[in-house]
Amino acid sequence: MKNSMKLIAIFSAAVLFMIINVAMIQKPGGPWNVPAKYKSMKSTIKAGDASINSTGKELYNKHCKSCHGAKGLGDGPKAANLKTSCGDFSSKDFQAQADGDIYYQSFVGRDEMPNFEKKITDEADRWAVVYFMRTLKK
């Protein structure tokens, strides 16, 4: 009797553990509905601009790294506590997006992805961050 009780307790704990883990699995964010205005946006800086590896990198490290990770793999220290997966900036799917798509997702945001328009106010600085994210391509 004692043994069967122990077995039931272990089994229940295992089931509970699995349920909690399933509940904690991060879901992918789903497709973004990017307004046409943003889709067609053109960068105010040129590819290869010096600000990409200075300002862009610095602002990425300050505002993005804690969730998205230093290499954009979505493995920053805060990422595990989010309900939604941070995605992988080095992936082909991410890099295939238009600049305007990345701009909208990065600065307008949705749900757990905060709006950064007030944190990075200068337009050219925002594009430096977008282009820095381009450098994370594998």
Binding site: T55, K57, S66, F116, K118
Partner: protein, 302 residues
């Protein structure tokens, strides 16, 4: 005659067409030659607060900033009070709100002397990336209200005795991504002071930042109270004999994230409002007057 008229009419049409075309080209040229919009330089400091001092950095409009400032006791007792950590400490809780991109108002409450404060900071000039405007200039005002018991202020108590004021012009420059510096002359006035202390004092402050990683900086600052005989209420002999106020010197480490700024530092002044350190500080940074301080700020955008 008719033929001449036709030639003239044709010539007029051609000339008009040419002029119109020229006009369009001119307009296009004017459009392309429109002067580029001046871009404001990035903020010289990560936060509007550096130790107990204000910087020229202002958060965008409709941003709320919560501030927690903490200063332990002096470290001179060593392990007896764990380098001041177990000694009486001073704490301030504050809230700042940016009404406009260049105007901030704030309130706060401080433990020592039960000081309540109202702050206003207004950016008059903003440094631009083109260097057309090479510095950022802010006007900063702190109104302090001492909330201790009436008896503290002597026999003829009036509410106005509780009031003290600090006014500063802050001039900063972000030299590059790594190095920023600011200088700030200030004027402090206490409506009520001890009989040995002047009511007015002029001060000179500076602060600097050396950023050594995307989020970390070495920060340094100092407030020097100036003993100017011309505005003193006491004789020169008296002032020469009196114990002088000491500069409030601070040096520390700053970590700034998207929404937070953390400062961990060594300082001499145990006051938290600038007027307290400029008017009353007697801790000497170079003679057993160092204490540990820390600040935390948190931003919310609306």
């Amino acid at each position: 005659m008719n033929k001449l008229y036709k030639i003239l009419r044709f010539s007029a049409i051609v000339v008009m067409a040419l002029l119109m075309n020229h006009g369009i080209i001119l307009a296009q040229e004017e459009a392309t030659e429109e002067p580029a919009k001046e871009r404001p330089a990035r903020a010289a400091f990560e936060s509007g607060l550096l130790f107990d001092a204000a910087t020229t950095t202002l958060q965008p409009s409709k941003t709320l900033e919560m501030i927690i400032q903490h200063r332990f006791g002096t470290m001179n007792n060593g392990t007896e009070d764990l380098f001041g950590i177990w000694a009486p400490s001073n704490i301030r809780l504050g809230l700042n709100y940016s009404i406009l991109n260049n105007l901030m108002v704030g309130i706060g409450t401080t433990k020592f002397n039960k000081m309540q404060d109202i702050q206003i900071k207004y950016n008059v000039l903003q440094q631009t990336r083109s260097n057309k405007i090479p510095v950022t200039v802010s006007l900063y005002e702190v109104i302090g209200i001492d909330a201790r018991a009436d008896e503290t202020f002597g026999m003829n108590y009036k509410f106005s005795h509780r009031m003290n004021y600090f006014t500063q012009i802050i001039i900063s420059r972000r030299f590059n991504d790594m190095f920023s510096l600011q200088v700030a002359p200030g004027f402090t006035h206490y409506n009520s002071t001890d009989s040995t202390v002047d009511h007015d004092r002029i001060s000179f402050s500076f602060a600097g930042r050396v950023k050594f990683s995307p989020q970390s900086s070495l920060i340094i600052g100092a407030d020097f109270p100036l003993q100017i005989q011309g505005i003193s209420e006491h004789t020169k002999d008296f002032n020469d004999m009196a114990e002088p106020m000491k500069p409030n010197i601070c040096i520390g480490y700053e970590v700034a994230t998207s929404t937070h700024a953390f400062h961990l530092y060594l300082a001499s002044g145990q006051g938290i409002l600038p007027q307290e350190n400029i008017m009353l500080n007697k801790n000497d940074f170079f003679d057993k007057g160092i204490l540990i301080g820390l600040n935390i700020t948190r931003l919310w955008s609306f």
